[in-house]
Symmetry: C2
Subunit: 354 residues, 2 copies
């Protein structure tokens, strides 16, 4: 087997020396790219795009062809698991995801099975295999899943929500039922991520988009506990290399110490935390990924470079940093600015290494 | 002049001894109360309700008649100031606030005047005077305003937003223009809050609903700096008592030390921060207000009492705590549970005092 030509990402996630800080961007394959919008239109619905391995591979590769990114990330959605559980995922234009059959009662929770990745989610595994082939070991491929708590919010609410009334209603009035749901989802996520590794994913990321809406105590009980279980159940080596795992809780800046104790290799942080402070807090236990405000890309090239420099300087010298946005790239960003960002990271970070 | 019968709130905000922890709830006058919905329907639009001092007074008093709350808060909206500046506030049903004339260019910013509270916002001052008369010194009345950053987000976006693209676009590409806008808004807020004190407000709260979407550096430059200026410009004594000021940045749990340095008397905290940790961090510099997750009110009476006990215990003995939710009460909460909460605070907190 051919060696990975650019393994900065894997090395940085394991806090090993690199020549420059690696960079990739959450939602780097997405609506801000005109070539993405074209494929998306041809595909039909968003789910038609996700479930077609050739098209998913094509859009995964688009940002790689444009920018010298240090990683590709599987083009997919965190809600593929509940969809495979039979909840009937669909997207209303401009409304976000919805489920035809939300999970509300004990009977709904108990009816849920654990999807078999190679049959129920075969389109994802096929996409992983195809992307790996097309990537041809240039850069690593990141696989991902949503956290059990985050998936449960959509499964119980049945749609996006601002107040989390239903899922928090369950948390506060039927906590045992919510735990049962989270347990089933955690087992599904573990099996799904392991299948992605078997198919060729070289690093994994768990997106806990909604962990930050919980109290510290509930975050530990209802979100972190299940991510911890997942991390413990993951295949951590493949193709003779360690498969690093990144945990990302949006709004989780106050809980980094707890997150570092899960055994994850790296933590994603949003832009509300100073990455230098975060590094002091987590010490040498984990690498850090982040943390540019996605809105920085509305600025001039000068502002983007200045903000990149600020984050590199805050993190300081030495390994253990993967540059990224603190959240997904916004659809109305000019791709030219994305290029400015990627180049700035490589150019400005060299002096912090070696 | 008659003395205040229940001054727990004012004492707690100044870290003076109290018999039990005072409690009030953000949006305590609101849609979860059937009597509110009735008045709201009669009034016409939400702004019709805000601009009618008699009706604003009536809904302000509704929760006071139902529950043994330790404070009333003026029924109004943070967007009265930009409305008085001529931006044309209106509410689309289920869509949140909108402005007919958002602030986008330098000319828009420079055209903004500082409203005169007693003429341009007379309906607010009349409401304050009327509520004080009706309250008859039973409990204190809290006045409030939005933070300059939070008001600017609505003024620039023209509506609610998830990505803050326009206002952050201005922050990253035209920071000097945004500073000019924030300066005008800060002067307007200072004058508005001082007029509320002159009209009878006995404590003040600044709502920085959107400060938490900024980076730590931008929070200090674009939000906290202007709240600091406001605090420095406020009338801090009226009717021979100190007028305490509360700063509340939703999502500001990581910046409490900076907030405490503004000279505010108290900080509001949302539920993502452990109030015991927060107290250790701010020491004796400020009182703390919070921090029950509003969704707790979906739980049983037992769960509500247990969570109230948890927060009282985390804060610990001694003065300086005002019990509140970490955000506004949700419209779909059962008012019975609100009563359970208020009673639990008074009953369970007595042992931490005296």
């Amino acid at each position: 087997m051919q060696a990975l030509q650019n393994d900065r990402l894997l090395r940085a996630l394991l806090r090993q020396p690199v020549d420059t800080t690696p960079v990739w961007l959450m939602r780097q394959a997405g609506r801000y790219l005109p070539e993405y919008r074209k494929v998306r239109e041809q595909a039909g619905s968003f789910m038609d795009l996700c479930t077609n391995p050739e098209l998913a591979c094509e859009v995964t590769m688009q940002p790689i062809e444009r920018f010298p990114l240090d990683a590709a990330i599987l083009f997919s959605d965190i809600l593929t698991i509940p969809d495979a559980m039979g909840l009937g995922l669909y997207f209303e234009e401009g409304e976000g995801p919805r489920f035809k059959k939300p999970v509300r009662r004990a009977a709904d929770v108990r009816a849920l099975g654990i999807p078999d990745p190679e049959t129920d989610l075969r389109y994802v595994m096929d996409a992983v295999r195809l992307i790996r082939r097309v990537l041809d070991n240039r850069i690593p491929l990141i696989g991902f899943a949503g956290s059990p708590w985050t998936l449960a919010t959509y499964m119980v609410e049945g749609s996006s929500t601002k107040t989390f009334s239903r899922v928090k209603g369950m948390l506060y009035s039927e906590p045992a039922l919510l735990h049962e749901l989270l347990d089933t989802v955690a087992k599904s996520v573990t099996s799904y991520l392991n299948a992605q590794v078997a198919a060729g994913a070289q690093a994994l990321m768990i997106f806990d988009t909604w962990g930050g809406v919980l109290t510290p105590r509930d975050y530990r009980d209802f979100s972190l506990q299940y991510m911890h279980k997942i991390v413990s159940g993951l295949t951590r080596e493949a193709e003779d290399r360690k498969v690093p795992v990144i945990l990302f809780t949006k709004g989780g800046g106050q809980w980094l110490e707890d997150m570092a104790a899960t055994g994850a290799d790296a933590l994603g942080i949003d832009w509300s935390t100073d990455i230098g402070e975060a590094r002091r807090r987590v010490g040498d236990r984990v690498a850090l990924q982040g943390n540019l405000d996605p809105a920085t890309l509305y600025g001039t090239a000068e502002v983007i470079r200045e903000r990149v420099a600020g984050i590199l300087d805050a993190f300081g010298p030495g390994p253990g940093h993967v540059f990224n946005l603190g959240h997904g790239i916004n659809p109305d960003v000019d791709p030219v600015n994305t290029g400015v960002l990627v180049n700035a990271v490589h150019e400005l970070s060299a002096s912090y290494h070696g």
